[in-house]
Structures are given as C-alpha cells and as structure tokens.
C-alpha cells in the first residue's frame, strides 16, 4: 500500500485528449467528460514536448485533431464526442423491447421521475444527450436546496440522483439525442440520433431548456474558442489568471461568476437589466458583492466581439456609449429556449414561446384538444397527447427552479400510474 494518496487521482490510465484549446469539438468532448465525472488530461497541441511523447507526426496533423487516447490505448483521430462516448463504453443499448415509461432528459425533473418510477417498480429508461443533471448539473453550488444546509454542487446532486435512479433499476441512455417521437397504439416510440428506438407505454418530456443564443455578429464562429454557453465547468481551471466576462442576470450567471472568480484574475458580469434584484436570488447577490475581483455592469449589452483565432475583447454598450472590454473568455448564461427538438413534430401543443402546454393549459388553448380521443380531460402534467407528459423547465408555466422541477418529475410518476391503469396492464 502506498503512504501517499497522490491527490486522490485515479491509479489506472486515464483519457488523454490532445488538440487546440480553441477547438469547438475539443470543448464539446471536455464538456461531456467533465459533466459525466470522467477524469481526463487535456494536452494543448502547442505543448510540443508533451505532444511528441504522445502522438506520431501523422496524428499531430491539424486534420487529425483532436486526438483522444483511451485508457485501453485505443486512439481516436480525429475524435468526436460520440466516438469518445462509445470508446468508453458509455453508449449502451436499451435492454428491454418495451418500457412502462421513457423519460426524455435526465435533468432534475427527469431524474426525479426516474427515481420515483423505478422505485415503484416501473420499467424506466431515460434518454440524455450529454450528462445527467441538465443545466442544474453545471451549477457550482446550490445553496437553497432543501436538506443541504451548506449547499450542494449541481454535479454532486446529479451524480447522486443518477446513482439512485440506477440503483432502483432505471436505465440511462447517454450521448444520444431524441430525433423523433411517433405514437404506436396507446404508447410511443422514441427514435434516437443513432437510430436506436425505444418503445414505451407512457412518455415524459423533461428535456429542459437550452441557453438562449446571444445575437452578436461573429459570435457563433467563436463557440468553444473563447465563447461558451453555460457555466462551462470544464473551463474553470483553464481560466486561471484570465479576464472572464459573463452575460446574464439570473442565478445561473451568478453561480458562474462565483465559480470563475476563484480562478480568473477578473470577472465582469454584464447584465442587460437595471439591477440584479429582479432576476437573481439575494444570497447570490450578497456573495457577488463580497468578491474583490468581480465587477457587475448593469444596463449593459455585448454588441460586438474582437477576435483572432480566439476571443480577445468585447465591445459593450451601456446607456448609449460603447466601450472595449478585454476578455479571454465569455460565458453566456441568458434565459432559456425550450428544448423540444425531436418532440414537437409529434403534434404537441406549445405556447407562444415554444414551451409545452399541459393539463388545464391544454384544455384552455383553442384547438389543442382537437383529436383528443378520451372522454376525460388531460391530467395535470399531461400534454394534448394521452400518456405523453411534460415536467420541469420545458413545460409551459413551470417555475424555473431545480426543486420545482424535481417536484414536477415526482408528481408526473403518480399521473403515469393513472395512465398505465387506464390503458390496462398495471
């Protein structure tokens, strides 16, 4: 036995990724690994001494980057997120030909539903494109979640919840997106981005939201090269000593500021509104005010970016005047857009902003119940399609809070039981 714990690092070989820091694919792989709690070593291709020991001349060709060396020695060049996930054995096929419940999305609502449904004996599968936890999983510290007086990090909450769901027998299919939903008898078939199909008697859409895109010229070309959507937990350490800008006025932006303030030389929070009070929890505002390397600019918007191979500066507008703000990285945490890709075409009734209508909101929506085949009205979290439920941030009228999503995910399971009893077999 060793006397030294070597910082608790794994003792078996880990994944090595070699590439350009400013690579969108490299970022997507780092983000995927980081959010799935898979340790990896990132080697920048400019570190010629290290690269020479890892790659052949041919592999170091820019066309072959990023290169991923898996723990078993297998090399992926150029590596893709899907290839890395498959190479690590993280892409599993559904084990059953039919489930009682398919959950789309493994954020707080989806994981809560998976835990409750599986613990009550239902055959459950959850589909998740990136990692368990959703947006909440990237939160540095949730301090107002019930039962954790010192707070709990989003990643730890997600890790525990996913382990809990699996312990009860729920399956989690990772690294694949929902491509399509079709109805089949009283149930549904989910078709995934890799062609996998999943049949179930009921379905819960808990796909959450994705970050709203910042409408600034040239910003899309910098994705992964200094511009990131979300809190970017995989990037925190690499921002050590850097100048970081964060856009947003909500709790996600506040959490990101706190995380990056631990690493960056300076963090600027750019808020379009006139104050934080309307959109951010008071405990976060209080913490931000105590941070010496954080500046909050209200009434401010990003109007342009300055970049070469990567982001260098932002042009920000405030009360009619435009100034230049040096920035090595920009993290965008503004609002959310409902994630209904792959689900909407089955005929879901959506509100004007694209969120999924459920329960009374379906009944009161003109035309939404056209074709509704049952004598009863939709159940509280049921969409305009019988047996297809929605919970969490993707649902119209939902409270955008982690605890609220968990509550809805749990509640949905009780309604799924009612639906399964209705169609028989439970």
């Amino acid at each position: 036995m060793s006397m030294i714990d070597y910082d608790a690092r794994p003792v078996t070989p880990q994944i090595v990724l070699v590439g350009h820091r400013a690579s969108a694919v490299g970022y997507s792989i780092r983000d995927f690994l980081s959010r799935n709690a898979v340790p990896y070593e990132w080697v920048d291709v400019d570190d010629t001494e290290r690269v020479a020991g890892l790659l052949t001349v041919q592999e170091a060709n820019p066309d072959q980057l990023p290169v991923c060396i898996l723990p078993n020695g297998m090399r992926l060049a150029p590596a893709t997120l899907e290839g890395v996930a498959a190479g690590l054995g993280m892409v599993s096929a559904p084990t059953l030909s039919e489930y009682d419940l398919t959950i789309v999305g493994a954020g707080p609502a989806g994981l809560a539903a998976a835990v409750y449904a599986a613990s009550e004996g239902l055959r459950v599968v959850a589909i998740e494109s990136v990692a368990p936890g959703g947006q909440a999983g990237t939160t540095s510290m949730i301090e107002n979640y019930l039962g954790f007086p010192q707070g709990i990090s989003g990643s730890e909450l997600a890790t525990r919840a996913a382990a809990q769901a699996r312990r009860f027998g729920a399956e989690v299919l990772l690294a694949r997106r929902l491509a399509d939903i079709t109805s089949e008898g009283p149930g549904y078939v989910a078709c995934l981005s890799d062609g996998t199909t999943v049949r179930s008697r009921a379905m819960l859409l808990a796909s959450g939201v994705e970050w709203r895109r910042l409408e600034v010229p040239g910003i899309d070309e910098l994705l992964g090269s200094g511009v990131y959507y979300g809190a970017g937990p995989s990037e925190a350490v690499t921002c050590t000593g850097c100048r970081v800008a964060i856009v947003g006025g909500g709790n996600s932006a506040g959490q990101a500021v706190i995380r990056f303030s631990r690493y960056a030389a300076h963090v600027t929070l750019l808020v379009r509104g006139s104050s934080l009070e309307a959109s951010m929890s008071q405990y976060l505002i209080s913490q931000l005010r105590k941070l010496g390397n954080v500046e909050v600019r209200t009434n401010t918007e990003v109007v342009d970016v300055e970049a070469d191979a990567r982001l260098r500066a932002l042009m920000v507008s405030s009360r009619g005047s435009v100034t230049r703000l040096l920035a090595d990285a920009l993290f965008v945490c503004i609002g959310g857009v409902p994630r209904t890709t792959g689900a909407a075409q089955v005929g879901l009734a959506l509100d004007r902003a694209g969120y999924v209508r459920t329960g009374a909101a379906v009944s009161s929506s003109a035309g939404a119940l056209d074709g509704w085949p049952l004598s009863r009205q939709p159940l509280p979290l049921e969409t305009n399609l019988p047996g297809l439920f929605a919970a969490g941030d993707v649902r119209s009228g939902s409270i955008k809070r982690c605890a609220a999503a968990i509550g809805e995910g749990s509640m949905a399971v009780a309604l799924v039981h009612q639906r399964l009893a209705e169609i028989g077999g439970e």
Binding site: A8, R9, V11
Partner: protein, 196 residues
C-alpha cells in the same frame, strides 16, 4: 531523510520474504478472533476474484493507492469495470475550489474501502502509514466496509518489526516511487526523516 535510492539490500532481503504457511494460518486465526473475516488465497488472480465477490455491484468504492491492487487488477476492476461507483475518479475531477467540503465527506466515509497494510503482526495488529493521514480515518472508522489485500511478505513477528518494516523498507521504497512520480514530496521526506 532517505537516500532516495530505495531500501537497503538488507531491508529488501528481510522484508520482501514471504511468510510461511504456518505464519499465515496463525495470522488468519488471530484476525478471525478480532472479528475480521479472512480469506487465504494462493495467487493475485484468486485475490482479485475474492474482492470481486465481496463488492456489491453499484457499491461506492474508494481504492487506496497500492501496488498490490494495481498489479493484480483490483484497481482496474474498481475504476474501470463500470460495476461500481469508484470514488477516486469522481474526486479527481471535482472542483476543489467549489466542492472541497463534498470531497472531504466523500473521501472520509466511503461505503467501501479496498486497500492494504504496510505490515501485519502474527498476533493480528495492522500497521498502516499514510503521509497525510487521509487513508487512516476511513479504514479505522469512516468506511462502511473495509477490504484489505495483504501479501504474505507483510507478515512480521511483532510491532517493533512492523515499524522497522515501515521505516526501513516501505518508506524508502515509497520515497523512491514518489520522487520518480512527481518529485514534489519534500515535505513528507523531511517529516519522515525526522521521525525515522
């Protein structure tokens, strides 16, 4: 302070010698009397199978650093098989700045610890040395279950010989490995040098 060249030839000869079957049986009896379940195995492969049979699928497991565990494949089973929730990779990728408290809690009280000892006396006293002490708490009281894989060369006659094994054999060997691995353990070298 150690020379940095590893244990002396005398220490290597004395402390890498395998115990006799009689010594192993005596130790097993002594450990059983203390309430520790013992499996005596003939090979590393068999030890690996026993550990696998003891760890429940899905268990949260912390594997202590141990050449023995690495060589016989137990570390690989824990960290890479997908059968368990290995804490070591999970801790490694956590954010020390934001998740320090969670890291302390996870490493202090895992459900299962799989490790080894530096010496065990024929009467069943276990001797474990840890640079930071972090490995002691879970084994002594924090972990829900402890599995120790102990090679026959670690059995010593008494406590004094066990301590000698640590100071004259394990520490110089560890010092050599640490210097090769990271060359940044001077604090430990000087601390142990003063004690030794």
């Amino acid at each position: 302070m150690t020379s940095g060249n590893g244990p002396s030839e005398e220490a290597r000869a004395e402390f890498s010698r395998l115990a006799s079957g009689q010594q192993i049986r005596a130790l097993a009896n002594a450990l059983e009397r203390s309430g520790i379940t013992v499996s005596v195995v003939d090979s590393g492969e068999e030890a690996r199978r026993v550990v696998r049979s003891l760890l429940p699928v899905g268990a949260e497991v912390y594997n202590n650093t141990s050449r023995t565990l690495e060589v016989i494949g137990v570390a690989e089973d824990i960290e890479r098989s997908g059968l368990y929730q290995p804490l070591r990779p999970r801790l490694y990728q956590m954010d020390r700045e934001m998740q320090g408290r969670e890291m302390r809690q996870l490493s202090a009280a895992p459900d299962w610890v799989v490790g080894s000892v530096h010496a065990v006396t024929e009467r069943g006293s276990l001797l474990i040395a840890s640079a930071s002490g972090s490995q002691l708490g879970p084994i002594v009281s924090g972990a829900g279950h402890v599995i120790l894989v102990i090679g026959g060369q670690k059995i010593v006659q008494d406590l004094n010989t066990g301590l000698r094994r640590i100071y004259e054999y394990c520490f110089p060997l560890e010092d050599l490995r640490a210097r090769r691995a990271c060359g940044r353990l001077a604090f430990m070298c000087s601390a142990w040098g003063r004690r030794g």
